[in-house]
Amino acid sequence: MVYRYSEIVKKYFKHPKNVGKIKNADAIATEGSVLCGDMMTMYLKIRNNKIVDAKFESFGCAANIATASMLTEVVKGMNVDEAEKIEWKDVVKKLGGLPPIKYHCSVLAIQTLRSAIRKWKEKQKKVSS
């Protein structure tokens, strides 16, 4: 199967940003599975409802690595509610497009981010109650 990645995807795949763990992260989520061939973990540092740092780890293809890398850049400095609303299509657009067969890999990155924020929100609720 032939598909072509955009130059932006290739750039982010070759030199991914924000790779690794965040020590004492406020939110962590892992989505996907090794069985499916795409799995990623996202770490967030949150201060006053604002994402101040974001990192990721991935056992995934180029599309997943590039999307996660772009996403961690985008969400830094964002309010959590705002970050939760990011759609995979927005990130794909910023990446200069993805082959349709690879959309699900970018969806996984968004799912992981949302899952991390959801977990953080639940934790906040518990703390305040």
């Binding site: 069985l35 061939g37 056992f59 690879k102």
Partner: protein
């Protein structure tokens, strides 16, 4: 440096082959169905090509026909035999790791009322000959087994299989897909009791768009295409003369240097395998057998990274390989051959197939291993499994 290691899918066309083809585009562009001199030249060129393709495998050149590629040749071999022999029975036996053109032809026949048994293979890709024996019935009309597997290079015991089939029932037609065997391992259609053999062109450094079927005299095959009959009733249509000439020349060159080429590739794949295993140790494992394996095929699982990403990293360094990862397939499924060999899906996602040719050299193998190490390190840095890896 650019290193092409995807020779199981398509290979470089030998320059001598291109030279041989050119006159048949620009000077001798007749087809053999006419009566003039150009037609005669085409007819003679086709006969010469058939001889070059058939004689080294102990086949008669009159029993060669041409198709547009391996996919068509396999379709014709499976469906053509089934349709022409359905009055004798509707049972077919094949294996679970054939090329898709064989498997999908069998599945299509099942929808038309044929019964197909798909033989399991062990974790090295070998069938169990006793299981084959048990499956052969009175109404079995066709057994189709590939000589060399296209993904893991397993060489089936074709001679023993052919002998068994004919001992059980002489009228069963034995088809062998030799796409990954022709000019890679010795083939003798008579000694192996082969009735129908699929022969590739583009994998032996001939042109794309052409393949051959050897069909023994007594085998009935129903044509799948209908139209003008030129040289073959089984496969109507005008011959692709330049491609046939190129195919023949590729076979001629290939057989002239057969031993040297195979020995060279044996040396190279042995070196590649040793260097990969020395470098990656416990994060890598070979898929398929160590013995009775085509030296042109090397296939490893690289644990904890994903194969599409690894393939792309290598591509950026000028190394061209393929992966069995789901992420690189149209159906988003792991390669079925790997699963049939019992490779776990999580490992299969990291599989890389290195298919060599006689054009590769030692320096390239060194470069490939250096690139692999760099590519793997780039990806493992991103992976959540990096703590498990020390290379």
């Amino acid at each position: 440096m650019k290193v092409y290691l995807d020779n199981c899918r398509s290979a470089k066309v030998e320059e001598e082959v291109v030279k041989a083809m050119i006159p048949y585009f620009t000077k001798s562009y007749g087809v053999p169905s006419s009566l003039h001199s150009l037609a005669l030249e085409a007819d003679e060129a086709i006969e010469k090509a058939k001889r070059s393709i058939a004689l080294p495998i102990n086949a008669s050149y009159e029993n060669i026909i041409f198709a547009s590629g391996v996919t068509e040749a396999n379709n014709l071999a499976i469906k053509g035999v089934a349709y022409a022999n359905r009055n004798r029975g509707k049972h077919i036996i094949t294996t679970r790791i054939e090329r898709p053109s064989v498997l999908d032809s069998c599945r299509a026949l099942e929808r038309e009322g044929f019964k197909v048994d798909y033989l399991k293979v062990n974790n090295e890709g070998f069938i169990n000959i006793n299981e084959l024996e048990e499956l052969i019935k009175n109404d079995t009309i066709l057994v189709s087994i590939q000589h060399v597997n296209h993904v893991v290079g397993t060489i089936q015991a074709i001679k023993e299989i052919g002998k068994l089939i004919k001992e059980k029932n002489e009228s069963i037609i034995f088809h062998v897909d030799a796409t990954d065997a022709y000019l890679k391992v010795p083939i003798d259609v008579k000694k192996c009791n082969i009735d129908v053999l699929t022969i590739p062109s583009n994998l032996i450094h001939g042109p794309q768009g052409i393949a051959a079927l050897f069909i023994n005299e007594n085998v009935k095959i129903k044509p799948l295409l209908h139209g003008f009959v030129s040289l073959s009733e089984t496969r109507p249509g005008h011959e692709n003369v330049p491609a046939i000439v190129g195919f023949g020349r590729a076979a001629e060159i290939g057989f002239a240097i057969f031993d040297d080429a195979v020995n060279k590739v044996k040396r190279l794949s042995k070196k590649l395998m040793k260097d990969i295993e020395d470098t990656f140790k416990d994060v890598v494992f070979l898929i398929g057998p160590r013995r009775r394996r085509s030296p042109f095929n090397v296939n490893y699982c690289f644990k904890y990274v994903e194969g599409e990403a690894l393939t792309l990293q290598l591509d950026m360094m000028g190394v061209y390989v393929s992966t069995g990862s789901a992420c690189a397939s149209r159906e988003l499924k792991v390669n079925y051959v790997l699963l049939e060999l019992g490779v776990r899906p999580e490992d299969a996602h990291g599989s890389i197939s290195f298919c060599l040719s006689r054009y590769n050299n030692e320096e390239e193998m060194d470069y490939v291993v250096r690139c692999l190490k760099r590519a793997y390190k780039n990806l493992i840095k991103i992976s959540m499994f990096k703590d498990r890896v020390r290379i």
